[in-house]
């Protein structure tokens, strides 16, 4: 009997994460990473942002963004190490680091979003 591979599932997460990262991340990092700190536009107030992240839809949005983006990273980074650096002999360590990191990050995101007062 063949052992069923979980590669298609991981690839699906990678692909969904790729779409999410491509569509949402440039504007996020443009605003929060450059435009607000450099004062190009007036940063939203603390109260406005807190009200936003309190909303259940925003929490779901942020959870999906963080989680899928991390699985996207895990899959891509894993193959970058395989092909780029050719360290196939460290296979298990790389897999644990990449997917373990994504799972851990997903758990942290869930905890942080859950805990918002």
């Amino acid at each position: 009997m063949h052992k069923r591979s979980n590669e298609p599932f991981l690839w699906m997460l990678f692909s969904a994460g790729g779409v999410v990262s491509a569509m949402l991340m440039p504007i996020h990092v443009l605003l929060f990473g450059l435009a607000f700190p450099l004062g190009w536009v007036d940063a939203p107030s603390y109260e406005h942002l807190l009200a936003l992240v309190r909303h259940p839809l925003t929490r779901v949005y942020l959870f999906i963004l963080c989680s899928l983006a991390l699985f996207h990273w895990a899959h891509r980074f894993r193959f970058t190490l395989y092909d780029g650096l050719q360290i196939k002999h460290l296979n298990e360590l790389i897999n644990t680091f990449c997917y373990g990191g994504a799972i851990l990050g997903t758990a942290v995101a869930a905890y942080l979003l859950w805990r918002i007062p």
């Binding site: 569509m23 991340m25 450059l34 942002l49 963080c66 891509r76 780029g84 942080l112 918002i116």
Partner: protein, 135 residues
């Protein structure tokens, strides 16, 4: 290993240089595209730090905004922006190659598949900016 030829027939591989991807621009682009994932992960980390600071209160939030003004983090975020834009463009341009759509027996052109992605990108980015900036 006393006899170096002992295992040759089965395990003969020419060793590829670790820097094989520097040989051609197309390979460099491939590695840069793959490297973009590291910046995707970095943006997630910053987003989670922002959420944590928001939860902790105005003082913590202001402190994080202050550290985001440091030259190191500004540079890192500028590089991250360049990489995620590169990721987005390569991702959208790959879409026509990943999915072949046929309409009335004719293959839909690459542009017809890639263009809606770009339109969605602009609309979604504008919507996020609007939601954030209206307060």
């Amino acid at each position: 290993m006393n006899n170096p030829t002992e295992y040759l027939p089965r395990s003969y591989h020419t060793r590829v240089s670790t820097y094989w991807w520097l040989a051609r621009w197309a390979y460099v682009k491939f590695i840069l595209r793959e490297a973009s994932s590291v910046f995707v992960a970095w943006i997630v980390v910053v987003t989670l730090l922002q959420i944590r600071a928001l939860t902790r209160g105005p003082a913590d939030y202001a402190e994080l905004q202050n550290s985001l003004r440091s030259p190191l983090l500004l540079t890192l975020n500028a590089v991250s922006l360049a990489f995620v834009i590169f990721h987005a463009v390569t991702w959208f341009n790959l879409a026509p190659k990943a999915m072949v759509i046929r309409l009335r027996g004719k293959r839909l052109s690459s542009l017809a598949i890639a263009a809606p992605n770009y339109v969605a990108w602009v609309v979604i980015s504008a919507a996020i900016a609007w939601i954030l900036l209206r307060g």
